[in-house]
Amino acid sequence: MSVVPVSAARLPPISGAAHAAAAELGRALKGRISLDEQDRLAYSRDMWPKALLWVREGRIPPPPDAVVWPRDEAEVVEIVRIARAHRIPLIPFGAGSGVCGGVLAVQGGIAVDLKRLERVGRVDPESLTVEAQAGVLGEVLERNLNAQGYTLGHFPSSIYMSTLGGWLAARSAGQLSSLYGKIEDMTVGVRAVLGTGEVVATPQRPRRGPDLAQLLIGSEGTLCLFTAATLRVHPYPEERAFRGLRFRTVAEGVEAMRRLFRAGLRPAVARLYDPFDTALVARSRHKGPATPPSLRGVVRADVLPALTRQLSARTLGRPGWINRAADLFRSCLLVLMFEGEARRTAREEEHARALCLRTGGEDLGEEPARNWYRERYAVSYKMSKVVDNGAFADTMEVAATWDKVLDVYERVRAAVAPVAFVVCHFSHAYQEGCSLYFSFVASGSDDVDQERRYDQLWRTALSAAVSAGATVSHHHGVGLLKQTQLREELGEGRRMLEALKRACDPDGILNPGKLTL
């Protein structure tokens, strides 16, 4: 579905259905509803980079008609009842950190901000589980667990600005997923309100029948609104062990990663940077504590924005030569981190190091991995500078089995090279394969050209990835961005998704226009 942005200066009028529902919703929610322009504007977008291009031009995605803030599950049920009666779409909203346009109100409707559902329970030390409400922000949840002596082990780059409900909706992955799994792996059960208004709570095992939780997780707001989840937690790690290794080629590095996981080792982090990404990472050192305000003016620029400044928009508009130059680089950095019980952590790290050395790696000591750990959220800051410099950037995370990983890498690079500057790292590794995380930077002659290039970039990159056997998303979800390729990936199986939709949301009010539904 294509989205037509609107002017930020003048928002489209509120629909009649929204007006009609508003009074009822206002009563049900004791006034926690807004039809104000300011709120509609703030809830019109997530972090989809394409929307940033629009904002730069003074446009925004089509806004919702209203925003509501339920504070408990019963109010969510009431919202669904009223929305069904008025046939008005509901768009579940966490903190809006998605990067695929998953919360855009493409058919108008009401954004349901769930952040007031923010309670976190006490950890059950026997079962090592905790129940948390869906609106809690990730960092708040993790700090709460840390204070109790535990960790969830879920550290997406968006942890500061995403909610548990958002993680569930998009099948989120954290940077330590190799050890702790993705959100679907750490979820013991969910509570959710379906589009029928029915509250479902999936029980813990043992239980019979298909796992309904796995059918709701990843539904991106199209089947339900999550209200809470029971999550598996872990004792806060006693120890962390770090190791950086250099490999002569991408193939050698990927092989080392594969062997690590096939050998049953369980690093929390295994992250291989391709040659040019390795060169960029090497320049992206920790800058020490925040500089005091008086020194703001001399804070040095980060790598990608510096690149965008140094290279004119025209150069980024023709990125082929940069990509060819990148071919001059060969060696790759592998970052490993283990954590957990002290003795076991040390032993696993020793075994991993020995295995990597046998596979051609060169030991770089702890520092590259420690540096990664210190800087693990830093990449998110680069977006602002890139966009402000008139260029655009985006990331694509796909996943494939080990036998296909290199092919996916090569094909995507080759396909994208004429359109954007591209680097890649391999992370979120498992026994069977890993995720490939591509970062693109590009520019265009003007706004129209940039948008055209942006669309072309995604079409090209995803098609190449899918044709090489990758899945369209490892953890960002589908949103509006990847619907065409999702349709291809689902094939005839899309019928099952439609059946799910009809059963869970017979009126089609939940986040319409997403997941091909």
Binding site: A8, G58, R116, G135
Partner: protein
């Protein structure tokens, strides 16, 4: 909306508008009022759109600009080190000029223009009450909140100073407010005028010891931002007392458990985290360190005029911070009179650091007797 003041923030507005909300969890206002509109990203996006003339300021947008305490917590997580409070307070000028500012901000500006402080009182008699009879080593600038509302804190400051060998006398020129309320209200033109006049009034003092961290922050950090250079060396009372804590009569700390709240202006604003802790550890045996402290410390909701523009939210912020800092119901000790007031408004026990230190010293005297 234009002008050099806005110009200096253009990049900050843009960076925040294009940022994936990295400081989202850190903003106390959007923690208490869980709306994207009042997140740092939401507020700065509004400022960005308005200052780039992509959107004109409306009452809703103006309200969003005022949803900031200026606590600088977001800066802790910002690699760009955006001064969001400063940027938003600057953008508030547009709301003031177009009479779109919330009522609380407008009334503050009105009161200030009439009385020179936000309390609508003449501070001179209060200053006279506490002026030293004889010349003293340190001239003290208590700040109008302490003068008008917290006499006991001022008395404690004088007593503690005496006990630690740092005799204070209230400076005559401390009958002036530092001007922070004008700054927070967004009337930066008036603030600049006021700052120049204050700088002139403070000229006779080569050194000034400031009690209220908000005042110290304003004089030391905010004045230069509007081009006003103080010729006075401004120090906080905590710096001065912490240097002399070893001069205190030898006595074990009191057998009490308290929680400590890092005041935003003292901590993130002036980088003074250890000075108040040195005093606190001398005075009480058990100090509970909040899970989030120093640069990450929470906000009490008292800054940025929030108690006047979003009263309910400001109390919610205070309640949440008290719960986080003192989860077992301990007394929350703080070095900021505004924070203490906020915690009390939230129904939590709170004590000013100086009155606590005074109790410790008095307890010593009693033992001697």
């Amino acid at each position: 909306m234009s002008g050099s003041r806005i110009e200096q923030h253009r990049q900050a507005y843009a960076y925040c508008a294009y940022c994936p909300k990295i400081c989202r969890f850190a903003c106390p206002v959007s923690d208490a009022v869980p709306s994207e509109t009042v997140s740092t990203w939401g507020k700065m996006t509004e400022a960005h759109l308005v200052t780039t003339q992509k959107r004109s300021l409306e009452p809703g947008g103006a309200k969003a600009l005022y949803a900031c305490t200026g606590c600088m917590r977001c800066r802790t997580y910002c690699r760009h080190e955006n001064e969001v409070g400063f940027a938003l307070f600057t953008a508030r000028q547009e709301a003031i000029d177009r009479e779109l500012a919330p009522q609380g901000a407008r009334s503050t500006v009105r009161t200030f223009s009439q009385f020179g402080n936000p309390f609508g009182v003449d501070l001179s008699p209060l200053v006279a009450r506490y002026r030293a009879d004889t010349p003293v080593r340190f001239q003290l600038f208590p700040g109008c909140t302490t003068l008008a509302k917290r006499g006991e804190v001022l008395e404690a400051a004088l007593a503690v100073g005496e006990a630690l060998g740092a005799p204070f006398g209230v400076a005559k020129s401390s009958n002036r407010c530092c001007g922070y309320p004008l700054y927070a209200a967004g009337d930066l033109r008036e603030f600049e005028r006021h700052a120049r006049a204050t700088a002139e009034a403070l000229k006779p003092y080569p050194e000034l010891v400031v009690l209220d961290p908000g005042c110290a922050y304003t004089l030391r950090v905010v004045y230069p931002r509007v081009g006003v250079a103080l010729q006075t060396d401004v120090r906080t009372i905590y710096e001065v007392l912490a240097e002399r804590v070893d001069h205190a009569p030898s006595r074990p700390p009191m057998e009490e458990t308290v929680a400590y709240h890092d005041a935003c202006h003292l901590g993130r604003g002036l980088g003074q985290y250890e000075e108040p802790r040195r005093l606190l550890r001398a005075a009480v045996k058990h100090v509970r360190e909040a899970q989030e402290h120093h640069g990450e410390a929470g906000c009490s909701g008292g800054g940025g005029l929030l108690p006047r523009t979003m009263a309910e939210a400001s109390v919610t912020i205070a309640r949440r911070q008290a719960e986080r800092a003192a989860p077992d119901g301990e007394t929350v000790v703080t070095a900021c009179p505004t924070s203490r007031r906020m915690f009390e408004r939230a129904g939590r026990r709170s004590e000013d650091l100086l009155t606590l230190v005074r109790r410790w010293i008095n307890a010593k005297d009693e033992r001697r007797r």
